[in-house]
């Protein structure tokens, strides 16, 4: 049976597009300002498909802002963010919500809906974006809750969960639609070593089993280096280091060394900019 030529061309174009776009996200000249202050300044980097990419940096350096920009909850002042070849800033509201169905995000606080039980929180995206029968929704929710170890906590309300459990429940909700991109905002903050280890393993397992692209934004060096395939280090709104975990660990860059070794003083000064100490204490006058 003859195959229509248009179909062949379309398939060939798809194959070429897939082969070319090894990066799921391409960020070009991205700048974001709040008033006069540049939070992110002409960033250029790529997020490879199917890998775990970490964005490390100190508190307040714009990591969460970067995630919000990728999710298009914020609009860049300049530059572009291409997700699978689509510039997210150019999308209309409806197209954007469609794109977000392919994204999952684990918020720093978990962000579970407080008026819904754990089960209903996880079922929420399914009920909204699919027309699956209730029995199938139940199976999917229980499978995701089982994956994060909370199948037995399905009837609890968010207020009854510990911080670690809330984050795991939120993770189940983030992956319930099997997204192609999962973004983790400071997943290890405030977690005890057991829960941090559990989360680390979950992130790795989810990445391997679902083949999704993962972005972890964190300042927790040890946990993040342990599971990432590639690392970007962000400071003062710019990328100051990039590479595999080993390359970043062995870097001679003074800024990277200060950050990775947790040194109190260095390129990032200990003191907030202030007038001369002696002058401030009025030593000369005395």
């Amino acid at each position: 049976m003859a195959v229509p030529s248009a179909s062949i061309e379309l398939n060939a174009a798809d194959v070429i597009k897939q082969a070319m776009s090894e990066n799921w996200i391409e960020i070009r000249n991205l700048t974001f300002r709040r008033g006069q202050r540049a939070i992110l300044d002409t960033l250029d980097f790529d997020i490879p498909k199917g890998k775990i990419t970490a964005i490390l940096g100190p508190s307040g350096c714009g990591k969460t802002t970067l995630l919000r920009l990728i999710g298009s909850q914020l609009r860049p002042t300049a530059g572009s963010i291409l997700i699978d070849g689509t510039d997210v800033a150019q999308l209309h509201r409806k197209e954007l919500f469609k794109l977000r169905e392919q994204m999952g995000m684990l918020f720093q606080s978990g962000a579970l809906f407080t008026d819904l039980s754990v089960y209903e929180n996880v079922a929420f995206p399914l009920r909204l974006h699919t027309s699956l029968p209730e029995s199938m929704i139940r199976d999917l929710v229980l499978m995701k809750l089982h994956a994060v170890g909370l199948r037995g906590a399905r009837d609890l309300m968010p207020a009854e969960l510990s911080g670690g459990m809330a984050r795991r429940a939120a993770l189940a909700r983030a992956i319930v639609l099997d997204p192609q991109l999962i973004m983790y905002d400071e997943p290890f903050v405030g977690q005890d070593p057991i829960f941090a280890g559990v989360l680390r393993d979950l992130i790795r397992r989810i990445n391997q089993s679902m083949g999704c692209t993962c972005i972890i934004v964190s300042h927790d060096i040890a946990e993040t280096l342990a599971i990432s395939d590639y690392i970007y280090v962000l400071a003062n709104g710019r990328i100051i280091g990039r590479g595999t975990p080993d390359a970043v660990k062995n870097s001679d860059d003074p800024w990277l060394r200060q950050f990775l070794q947790g040194l109190p003083d260095g390129p990032v000064p200990f003191h907030y900019p202030a007038p001369d100490y002696r002058q401030d204490l009025q030593m000369e006058e005395r």
């Binding site: 509201r93 919500f97 918020f107 962000a111 579970l112 809906f113 909204l128």
Partner: protein
Amino acid sequence: MLNLLQRLGRTGLNAAAGFGRAGILLWQAMWGAPDWRNGPKLLVRQLHFVGVYSLIIIVVSGTLIGMVLALQGYTVLVRFGAESALGQFVSLTLLRELGPVVAALLFAGRAGSALTAEIGLMKATEQLAAMDMIGVDPLRRIARPRLWAGIIAMPILAQVFNMVAILGAVAVGVSWLGVDAGSFWANMQNIVDFREDVVNGIIKAFAFGVVVTWIAVFEGFDAEPTPEGISTATTRTVVYSSLAVLAMDFLLTAVMFGVD
């Protein structure tokens, strides 16, 4: 002087920007096809939250205000031997003015502040951002049912207020002070015009419902996601709603009952 002008200009610009943001919120929340699948369920839930939960304060306040109104009215009218006019005095005062206005002020204090605090907390705990990332528009899911619930509940609450206030007035005027029940009800029936008094009162209550709920929802979405920010937004809801209700009441009264 220049500083004062600058500050004045900045305040004016901020106010204009605030009005603009509130207008965009209302447009984006209310415009578009209704969500028949989830909308009715969310609306009923919000009607319960803003309407049913406001009933106690409306009923108690309405009864007490009706009782006070009857007592004050009686002490004045009895001097002229016109205590039989108590029914018309109470009914016109309530239907035209006190019913919609006091109910709206109570609604702003009870439901308006609760709406702002709830939405502000959802913002602070990233629930709105999570909804956005799941692909659900928070303006449609959160703002729209709340706005409709306020708009529907407010006129009903105002009528409940009127009803219990009249009953409170009957309790004091007829049962306690001895005004003749027949003349109380007959005078009320004679003087109250359905179109002029009842419908205008309902229109006022509807307008107050729109304004109070709009302010409450907007302040929640616009709140700084901090404890202080939510507290400020809640206070602003009550203050702005109360002022808006009183200002609108004057305008509506001038249009509806203005001197020819």
